[in-house]
Amino acid sequence: MKRYAKLYWLYAKNHFKVMMEYRMDFLIGVLSVFGQQFAALFFLSIVFRHIESLNGWGFYEILFIYGIAFLGRAIHHIFFDNLWTIGWQYIRTGNLDRILMRPVNPLFQIVAERVQQDGFGQLLIGGSVLWLASNELGMVWSVMDIFVLLVMVLASGMIYIAVNLFFATFSFWMIDSLPVVFAVFSLSDFARYPMTIYSKVIMFVLTYIIPFGFTAFYPAMYFFEGRGFTLFALATPFVAALSLVLAYRFWLFGLRAFASTGS
């Protein structure tokens, strides 16, 4: 464990050196993520100029849900962005063989080889949105609440990571499963709005099959009073842990299949 922490630190230090070389690019990257998120918020605020509530949800309640999604996504984006590239940067190029030679967990190496600085923009905007929304909603934060929030955000990030890892693993059989990952991730956009606006089928899929509902909507329900879904909110960390375990098992299975063909 200590060895891995030290290794990660070395990787990260290396990465930050590169980053400081291209400071302008860092700025552009953060700005671009900013812009992306801003577009979504802008859309919402424009629509709310013309309506009071969306299916009973107020503007700031939806912002709060957004905020949690942004923060969870930021964790995934900053530290686990390399999961996206497993197919075309590791398997297709044969880079994976280099990694398998080393006496360190291969997944750890892949993840550590990249810190996506652009994600810090997301972290910033997610934090501000959450802060703004909770202020406007008049939320009172106890120490316990803040602790729960941290757990929820972490859980949200873990679900993004688990889904990404699970579908990236298909690369072992199809060389690059990026299209699949991309398609599945387009479902995560559903999670930005209160799930009550969707049909039962969609809610079912986002709860039990691809658990994106737990990246934003359900955890947010812990902080809203009298909205229901409390059980789902409390289940969030467990769903996250379960997803991650499943995804990692699948990854190990794929890795074994890959190594045994000797390709």
């Binding site: 860092f26 552009i28 992306q36 577009a39 424009i46 299209p179 699949v180 387009s186 559903f190 969609i202």
Partner: protein, 264 residues
């Protein structure tokens, strides 16, 4: 034993073909999902209303569907150019007997034509079946829409090329193109009709090229831009296309000179 390597080659070709097919289905899936989100979102917005800012639900859904479709036509020419620049291929391209920008433009239009038949039409059918798309308000609106779409697509490619040319100056093309995407997403009316925006914003967008990308053609179709407004709008589009065409060329020529100075 000898056969094994050839079988392996055959399998690998299948995988390559599958990769292309996979991207096609992935993007179809992703756009379909986006359409569904929009559908449920607007349904919820109109829960207790018959109109928002004078727009009825069916018109809004028509707008959302067409805007989403048109939004798919943002170019990839800029990325191609950026790639050429980053990896040095631009040097060889410059030696060839055509103007690189024109070549990219032509390729891009070809790709978009193919996208139209392969992706847009099937998606439109899906949208008509599950979401509902109003017919155009008049024959004049329909034909003006067709013209306006072509201009919008051209303009999108030119703006994209402009960003591509900028990669002579920065390494993080990805960041730049995402930034460009965000600006266009907000300002073009790809998300909501610009008439829903605050007045000051509408005034600004009058002087910017982005409304010509999505809002103008779609609003012509849905009748938000009425008969008298159609031709001025198309003229403005035409003006932007001409302006960007010239500007990109000048910037490209300037940047190329700079590259040559560096001994590239």
């Amino acid at each position: 034993m000898k056969l094994r390597k050839y079988i392996a080659l055959a399998v690998s070709q299948i995988k390559v073909d599958m990769a292309y097919a996979a991207w096609y289905w992935a993007s179809m899936f992703s756009v379909t999902m986006r359409l569904f989100i929009l559908y449920f979102f607007w349904q919820a917005v109109y829960e207790n209303k018959t109109e928002v800012s004078g727009i009825a639900l069916s018109t809004m859904l028509t707008y959302a569907v067409l805007a989403t479709m048109l939004d798919q036509f943002r170019g990839s020419a800029g990325r191609e150019l950026a790639h050429l620049i980053k990896h040095g291929g631009v040097a060889i391209e410059l030696l060839r007997p055509y103007h690189l920008l024109d070549k990219l433009l032509a390729q891009d239009l070809g790709a978009k034509t193919s996208t139209f038949f392969r992706a847009t039409l099937p998606l439109l059918v899906i949208a008509m079946l599950f979401i509902g798309v109003d017919p155009p308000t008049s024959i004049e609106a329909a034909s003006a829409f067709a013209v306006s779409v072509v201009l919008a697509v051209l303009l999108a490619t030119l703006i994209d090329l402009l960003v591509g040319v900028l990669s002579f100056y920065t390494v993080n093309v990805w960041g730049l193109s995402v930034l460009q995407e965000a600006v266009i997403t907000i300002m073009s009316g790809a998300l909501v009709p610009l008439t829903l925006f605050p007045d000051w914003f509408q005034t600004i967008s009058l002087y910017l090229p982005f409304a010509s990308l999505v809002y103008v053609p779609v609003a012509i179709y849905t009748g938000e831009i009425t008969a008298s407004g159609i031709w001025p709008s198309i003229l403005i589009q035409l003006g932007w296309v001409a302006a960007f065409f010239i500007f990109v060329r000048l910037l490209f020529a300037y940047a190329v000179r700079k590259v040559t100075v560096f001994g590239g």
